[in-house]
Amino acid sequence: MELLADCSLLPGEERIIDKDIIYICPFSGALKGKVFITNYRLYFKSADADPAVTLDVPLGAIGRVEKMGGASSRGENSYGLDITCKDMRNLRFALKQEGHSRRDIFDILFKYAFPLSHGLLLFAYLSQEKFEENGWSVYKPMEEFRRQGLPNDKWRVTFINANYELCDTYPTILVVPFKATEEDLRKVCTFRSRGRIPVLSWIHRENQAVICRCSQPLVGMSGKRNKDDERYLDLIREANGTAKLTIYDARPSVNAVANKATGGGYEGDDAYQNAELVFLDIHNIHVMRESLKKLKDIVYPNVEESHWLSSLESTHWLEHIKLVISGAIQVADKISGGNSVVVHCSDGWDRTAQLTSLAMLMLDSHYRTLRGFQVLLEKEWISFGHKFANRIGHGDKNHADQDRSPIFVQFIDCVWQMTKQFPTAFEFNERLLVTILDHLFSCRFGTFLFNCESARDTNELRSKTVSLWSLVNSDLSFYQNPFYTPESNRVLYPVASMRHLELWVTYYIRWNPRIRQQQQSPVEQRYIELLALRDEYLKKLEELQLSDSSPNSSHLSNSSTPNATSPTQHITHLHTPF
């Protein structure tokens, strides 16, 4: 019991079982200790290692639980449990080979790690956590559209999907070309995979170029055409007088062609004469899943020693990142040039979400703020139906489900690459990104649960669970980047070259104790120290000048001048050393 003292339970969290166990730590060897399982987490603390080794794993991060060895297995610590986690680590526990010692813990783990497969509720529905902030109010679609200057004379808001009748995976509020009638929308709906019609995601304030997102057209083998769809895309083009609408198909062209066999396809030249189609060559969810699996193989438990770089290259993970980022750069560049674009892949909920949200992050500095980034995720990923439930497999025991894929992890990696290249352009820090990924799996918050808004409504998600943003916004300073220098209207173009892309070591290899986990980067630490020193000196100086008993009060204002020249005022400066 006292072992659990340093692990405070969450409100609503309940202990299920505790047990003496041996944790086979890949870094420090077999460690005797105690494991506690609650309805939220697995917690282990070693008994005799100094300093104590602890594990604190939300059950949601567990992807697979297996029995290892049998009652008759030979060798030390060969009988126990093997746990595969979704967050780039595996855990191994050994037990005594007597009296089915692992049966109860295996059953409990299996049940509580995969509650949905056992008729139980996800922890988010059991949590009693309370926060000062209500994260569910972060994103209000109408407010966000209004911020973008919408509706206007070219774009209107439609409530046609209020009951999810037009498209069950879209949000209720959509922005469409002003000239398109509700009837037009219904017709277009029949020609787009799963009814995901082109709708506006973002509009450029000055040149009125728009990013629209949708799914593939249902062209099929016979090369069907749909006049309504063709006209509808032309309305998008017309809205700001774009000469040629650019359609970015995120897929490699071969895949787009192959999709015709299953009724999908792409916009042909003949049918869409005022549009140009560009393939962005980003691979599908299965390729990405295998790529990350390979990456895990070379970093966990130990970092591949011989030919590290070649091994890294053979996972193709960074290459995929490069393709996604360069796709987004092309979208952002087109928009900056005043041309509207339509982005789609097959269904428009994986690669499309990556491209539109990254492009928006490059174009709109609002999304680089702490709250703006939350809005971006709520909007482009959550409300537009990225299938979080299927991609992550929350609470589901079927670890081999082919629908699982780390698309969102890949997106967050792309964001991290951008923050790395532009360390002063984002209000949030790396901690926020890691926190987001941790709770992508944890099931502690409702934020990333379910596939789409209609499912969230049915399950009363927003009234019964807490949002991740409640946690984040109640402690904003923890997620703040001290170097942040707001620069509105600046388009950020990261460099999508392998030369600048790097493996996100502090996420993917964070379990390895040899990768030094610094609470704060030394640069950040130094900066904060200097800021504190400056404030201290300013105060001293002020005091000194007060005690100077200066007859002229203007002296006082002079003394505070350096304060006025705070970092935001002079953005760059070349004269002091570094």
């Binding site: 490699p252 691979h283 390729v287 295998e290 970092v303 590290w308 770089l309 070649s310 091994s311 290259e313 053979s314 193709h316 290459e319 360069s326 560049d333 097959s346 994986d350 439930a389 589901d396 629908d403 290249q421 532009f422 360390p423 002063t424 352009a425 379910f450 209609s454 170097f483 460099v495 999508a496 070259s497 392998m498 030369r499 600048h500 790097e502 104790p513 040899r514 030094r516 640069v523 630490q525 130094r526 900066y527 400056r534 000196y537 001293k540 000194l544 100077d548 002296h555 002079n558 350096p562 970092p567 005022q569 953005i571 760059t572 400066h573 070349l574 004269h575 002091t576 050393p577 570094f578």
Partner: protein, 756 residues
């Protein structure tokens, strides 16, 4: 631009004639008569040849755009002078006073290629027999790439300039032709007061001081001050106290353990040039044993030896690896760049450069472990004793001694280990293009800087100098002005400088060293050499440290090495027998093999050592160890990517963050000054306002330029840029080999959607 084609300007004033130019050069110097412009020549600089209406291609794109101007070759540089009126260079803060962005010091030319239509041919010197190429491509040692079109110039001029540049850049020449000599003769270069500056290790006092600083207890040898003992030995050096006078001169200094640094426990690091062991002759072995005994005697009768020739790559392999490595950065055009981007990681891996860096760092960590953990003396050796010995010994000192992580300390370290230590800078750089020295060329010093960069990258706040400082230092090796890099050893330097002196009887020629940074950069630019993250050690700490080291500490830290034996008589005899056996199989290496060879035991020992160190709180003024894991050893981005337009992160890069730190640092320092002033002049009421005015003007100057990741080497001029969009992407993904053809599958393979 083309309008200036025919405008032949007046003949410019001829530079003053200097007598040391060889006759053949005087001839070529007289011929070009229609010079239009030339750069501002340095003292002692003369123009050899020139051509007008040369087109310099804009480096960063494939289009055949460029700027017209004159191309010249002087005794210092290849220079391109644009016909266009010099635009107001904003942010030309980091200007090198010796050469500009369109100048290439002759020693900085790496390769010259002739461009014939679509082909590119490496020019290896000599007369170009057949057709003169219409295009000249110059790859520089600082990784710049220049492309000139000669097809708009007069054929005769084009030939002449091409031949001239090839001749002066690639043909063998004598040391006296290097620009340093004419430059120094023509500049009254003021003697700097070195006392407050870098310790040069050119006097016996410097050595004594350094030994005292580290509390070493060895013998200072000053008998070689006129190179009477041996020209191969440094002017001054330190050996174990048991080395006798006659030992000093045997084998021309080979086998003589040279003191590098003393650990506070009393053990020390020595280096030596190994003696080739001849089977029948027993003499070198006896001598070697005696020397080992002398080293062992320094502290606790323990010594470990390491032959770096056996365990680290040879200098030729270092060159081969670097030659492959640098090709990734010498980019002629955008297409080529993006092509090479596809296989970037594996190419990097295959050239082995990062692995060589890792091996050197690992070796240094092993030595550190011996000194720090086992408190045993270490003798590192290699043939010559002045290449990898210098790399390893300097790295060891950087890891153990915070003094060497200050700017002046680092410069002193280079003086001690490399300059006085007799690293053959001239042969290794082969500035003279001597055919018989081609074999000895190798970027060993650069390798050292690479290792330092890795350390600095991992432990930024521990270093007083910046990344920019290291980059500039690596460039300066190829600027033939500094005595630091022009010679092979002390006596070589002494001889030449004396012979070249204008006042034959008196002092040697007074040339600047690279540490005289004001020769290249003004004060503002030099500000960029210091690292804003560095925080000095609090003053009080030093006193604590002094008292913290009582003498009995030595006894407490008993060594665990195999060489530890009670100091009784007869031990050395046994030891010598033992050593004889070891020497007999010519493997002195007692404890390590390279990480690539099968020796998991030792590499895991290093890992344990690292892990033990890592669990302790990090003290930037204490022992520093590098992490050697794959992801931790990286490419020195600033040095290698600075000129490649497509990878410049505009408004980003680490500099964006560091400049903010500097900013605050500046403010804090200014406030400190104000506070100090207040302390002194509390009675005066009329100060206060002045610093404000100054700050304001500084701020005004700041905001005009936006930084890029290539700062300070390239300042971006226009901000309305197009992003670099990678080409050749599709081919890059080799997903075909993937099992089950995942790439061809549907994202959501049909079936009803399962909404939970």
């Amino acid at each position: 631009m083309l309008s200036s084609l025919g405008s032949a300007g007046g003949k410019s004033a001829k530079p003053s004639f200097v007598s040391y130019v060889t006759p053949e050069e005087i001839k070529s110097e007289k011929e070009p008569s229609r010079k239009e412009k030339h750069p501002d020549l340095l003292p002692g600089e003369v123009v050899f040849c020139s051509a007008s209406t040369v087109l310099k291609y804009t480096q960063d794109d494939l289009s055949q755009r460029g700027v017209f101007g004159a191309l010249l070759c002087t005794n210092f540089r290849v220079s391109f002078v644009s016909d266009e009126a010099p635009t107001e260079e904003t942010g030309q803060l980091f200007k090198n006073k010796l050469y500009g962005e369109n100048d290439i010091p002759l020693s900085c030319v790496d390769n010259i290629y002739g461009g014939y239509e679509d082909k590119k041919k490496l020019i290896t010197g000599g007369l170009v027999k057949n057709k003169y190429p219409s295009k000249m491509i110059i790859h520089c040692k600082d990784l710049r790439v220049f492309q000139f079109s000669l097809s708009f110039s007069k054929e005769e001029d084009a030939k002449k300039i091409f031949q001239g540049i090839v001749h002066h850049c690639l043909e063998p020449k004598s040391l006296r032709c290097l620009f340093a000599f004419s430059y120094c003769e023509n500049t009254s270069y003021p003697e700097v007061q070195r006392k407050k500056q870098t310790v040069m290790f050119d006097s016996v006092e410097d050595w004594i001081q350094d030994m005292k600083r580290t509390k070493g207890n060895c013998r200072v040898v000053s008998e070689n001050s006129n190179f009477e003992l041996s020209p191969k030995l440094p002017q001054f050096f330190i050996v174990p106290s048991n080395v006798s006078d006659e030992d000093l001169t045997k084998y021309q200094g080979k086998g003589l353990p040279m003191w590098c640094w003393s650990h506070h426990s009393g053990c020390a690091l020595f280096k030596t040039a190994s003696i080739p062991l001849v089977q029948e002759d027993n003499v070198p072995q006896t001598y070697m044993e005696k020397m080992l005994t002398a080293v062992a005697h320094n502290h606790l009768y323990s010594v470990k030896t390491e032959d770096l020739s056996d365990t680290l790559p040879a200098v030729q392999d270092i060159l081969l690896s670097y030659n492959k490595f640098k090709q990734f950065f010498l980019i002629d055009n955008t297409t080529e760049f993006w092509m090479s981007d596809m296989k970037w990681f594996s190419s990097l891996d295959n050239c082995g450069w990062l692995d060589i860096i890792r091996q050197c760092l690992q070796k240094a960590v092993e030595v550190v472990e011996c000194l720090e953990k086992e408190n045993t003396n270490v003798l590192i050796m290699e043939e010559g004793g002045s290449d990898l010995c210098c790399v390893v010994s300097s790295l060891v000192q950087l890891m153990l001694d915070p003094y060497y992580r200050t700017l002046l300390g680092f410069q002193s370290l280079v003086q001690k280990e490399w300059v006085a230590g007799g690293h053959a800078f001239l042969d290794r750089s082969n500035h003279l293009h001597l055919k018989d020295k081609a074999e000895s060329q190798s970027p060993v010093f650069l390798l050292f800087l690479e290792c330092v960069w890795q350390l600095q990258q991992q432990h930024g706040p521990a270093f007083q100098f910046s990344e920019t400082y290291l980059t500039v230092l690596s460039d300066s090796v190829h600027v033939p002005v500094f005595t630091t890099f022009l010679f092979n050893n002390d006596s070589h330097r002494d001889n030449i400088l004396r012979a070249e002196s204008p006042h034959t009887q008196r002092s040697p020629l007074n040339c600047p060293t690279v540490w005289d940074w004001s020769v290249q950069f003004d004060c503002k630019a030099q500000d960029l050499f210091t690292n804003p993250l560095y925080s000095e050690k609090p003053k009080q700490d030093t006193s604590v440290r002094k008292s913290y080291r009582p003498k009995h500490l030595r006894q407490l830290s008993l060594p665990s090495s195999a060489f530890k034996t009670p100091p009784k008589k007869g031990f050395f005899k046994d030891e010598a027998d033992n050593l004889k056996k070891i020497l007999g199989v010519k493997r002195l290496s007692r404890w390590m093999l390279s990480p690539s060879s099968e020796s998991p035991q030792t590499s895991s020992s290093v890992r344990e050592f690292y892990e033990a160190w890592q669990t302790k709180p990090l003290d930037y003024h204490g022992l520093l160890l590098p992490c050697l894991d794959g992801p931790s050893i990286r490419v020195w981005m600033q040095r290698y990517l600075r000129w490649i337009h497509d990878v410049q992160i505009l408004g980003g890069g680490p500099v964006a963050m560091l400049s903010k730190v500097s900013e605050i640092l500046g403010e804090v320092q200014e406030l400190q000054r104000q506070l100090d002033r207040h302390g002194c002049t509390l009675t005066s009421n009329h100060k206060g306002a002045r610093p404000r005015a100054k700050t304001a003007s500084v701020i005004a100057a700041r905001s005009s330029v936006r930084l890029s990741s290539s700062f300070p080497f390239v300042t971006s001029r226009n901000w309305l840029f197009k992003p670099a969009i990678p080409t050749s992407l599709l081919q890059s993904l080799m997903v075909t080999g993937m099992a089950g053809n995942l790439a061809d599958r549907e994202d959501d393979g049909g079936g009803p959607e399962s909404l939970v």
